[in-house]
Symmetry: C2
């Protein structure tokens, strides 16, 4: 099969990569559409030391596996957990210490014609959700993870820093639960996407942070964002770290202790709330699509996605 493969040195379209096999526990999914995430770009810089087929956002159809799944249109959770350890038993499969992660840790991903996914990770896509919407399930679930971790009061004042893909999704999810959301970003045209949904949005150049937000979501992807976030969170407020870049910089803990701030690292979420939100058209996702490339143009698509300020680039497997 065709697959976009990273060997640690070179990213290339392999025209004859071995097609994965279905097993009792793993379904084979024919990929219809896959999304490029900032994490994919980090992997090319050495993150996690990954080697293999990239990609962890996809929608496809089951072409081999249990009979009741055959032909079904699906998305799949990306953490492949053991299901039997104490971490899994407390419902934290996404943190299973022996997990593999699709396209990130020891498991081939979705930038290919086919991808193997544990059957228990699959979720059917409602008919009312298009492929172009369903492919956002994974990043939208990551936005919903905030609601698992933070108990937001109705009417909470929330600042979302960053108008990238994840920032715009987080902002809409928090707006939908009643928070008074302000999105702060650098791109007028991106801010317009959420402004059309009724959110307050402004350019960072027009923003004067005051320590008044009940919660701040840091989704800028830059180290400077964290400093801004700390300037905007109120005493005893909550700062949610969504930026992958957070893994690379350091933080003085002074304001954290003095203002008794709660700092929460936030990564993957569960898929069902995201699928429900897509089915009910509660979150605008298709305006985030910047471009769609055919799978064979995957390298070019990755270059496009890496340009500053580009929103979601998709790969279509025709």
């Amino acid at each position: 099969m065709r697959a976009l493969h990273w060997d640690g040195q070179t990213l290339r379209l392999d025209p004859a990569y071995p097609t994965p096999q279905a097993t009792a526990e793993m379904a084979l999914v024919r990929v219809r559409l896959a999304g490029i995430c900032s994490t994919d770009l980090h992997l090319l810089r050495g993150y996690m030391g990954f080697r293999g087929v990239l990609g962890h956002e996809f929608v496809g159809e089951v072409c081999a596996g249990p009979a009741d799944w055959l032909g079904k249109r699906v998305v799949g959770e990306i953490n492949f957990a053991c299901g039997s350890c104490t971490v899994c038993h407390r419902g934290l499969e996404r943190h299973c210490p022996s997990r593999r992660v699709m396209g990130i840790v020891d498991a081939d991903g979705s930038f290919a014609e086919y991808v193997a996914v544990p059957v228990r990770n699959l979720h059917r896509v409602p008919e009312t959700v298009s492929d172009e919407e369903a492919v956002f399930t994974e990043p939208l679930a990551a936005a919903f993870a905030i609601l698992e971790q933070v108990h937001l009061q109705p009417d909470a004042a929330v600042v979302v820093l960053g108008d990238g893909k994840l920032g715009l999704l987080c902002a809409q999810v928090l707006h939908n639960v009643g928070a008074r959301v302000t999105v702060v970003g650098k791109h007028a045209e991106k801010l317009e996407i959420v402004r059309r949904r009724g959110l307050h949005a402004l350019l960072v150049s027009d923003w004067r942070p005051q320590p008044q937000a009940d919660a701040v979501v840091e989704a800028t992807g830059s180290a400077a964002g964290l400093t801004l976030a700390l300037a905007a969170v109120r005493p005893r407020g909550t700062l949610v770290l969504k930026s992958t870049v957070a893994q690379e910089h350091t933080l003085s803990l002074a304001p954290l202790v003095v203002h008794e701030v709660t700092l929460i690292g936030s990564r993957c979420g569960r898929f069902p709330p995201a699928l429900r939100a897509l089915a009910h058209k509660e979150v605008a996702v298709t305006p985030l699509i910047a471009a769609v490339y055919p799978l064979p143009a995957g390298v070019e698509a990755m270059h496009h996605a890496a340009r500053p300020g580009v929103l979601k680039v998709l790969l279509r497997n025709d």
Copy 2:
């Protein structure tokens, strides 16, 4: 009056420091017993740029002020808030942006014969609570602050790192709400204090951290403690930062995001729960007393308190 004064260069017992005056809002308290906190030692190294009379832990009796308070034995909350700003109105007086803090920010403290305290900060000490117990109200309230900030499940597995004054208080408070507490420290004799209360305690040399604790309280006062704490907290667990030293070092955020850990800065608590716990003899505090000095020997007492491993040193105003 006599007062232990810090001018930014020298700590000395001033025999003729001006006695503060009571006003409509400020009561004058004759100090009976005051406690030396690690923060006092940090102030001598420049923390907060404080100049004035040190001390924020005390028990005393009101000698000037409103009639219904006269002669009453009291303790006093240390944050002197404005009471009228939006932060105060939401019950966060301890974070009032224009607050003064007794013996720490712009307000003279309790290492003196008398101290001025806002009337609304005063709390009567129950008769069943001795002076030697009451003087622990402030640090014990700081331990109770954890329960304001973290919703601990009954039966939660909690590790308290550090067997200093604050660590031993935090450990007992968390034990009392049903948590399965393990105290990890460096001093067998200090660990014995909480072991006698039924807590599990062990030497750090005998401890092999596993990422399994629902919550870890970092109260070591050393930068290395934070690294240990991160090794002991489970995915999606909570790490409470109680160490003042936390203000001086930096932290890589990598494990925080990957394991979705919640990091909570924790400082001052409310006095009533601490006073109730003292009245009900639920927390052993007097075993933490290392020495009691008369106020005129305050400089010597501070030197004693600064020795490594020393627990609580008190100043008595006879």
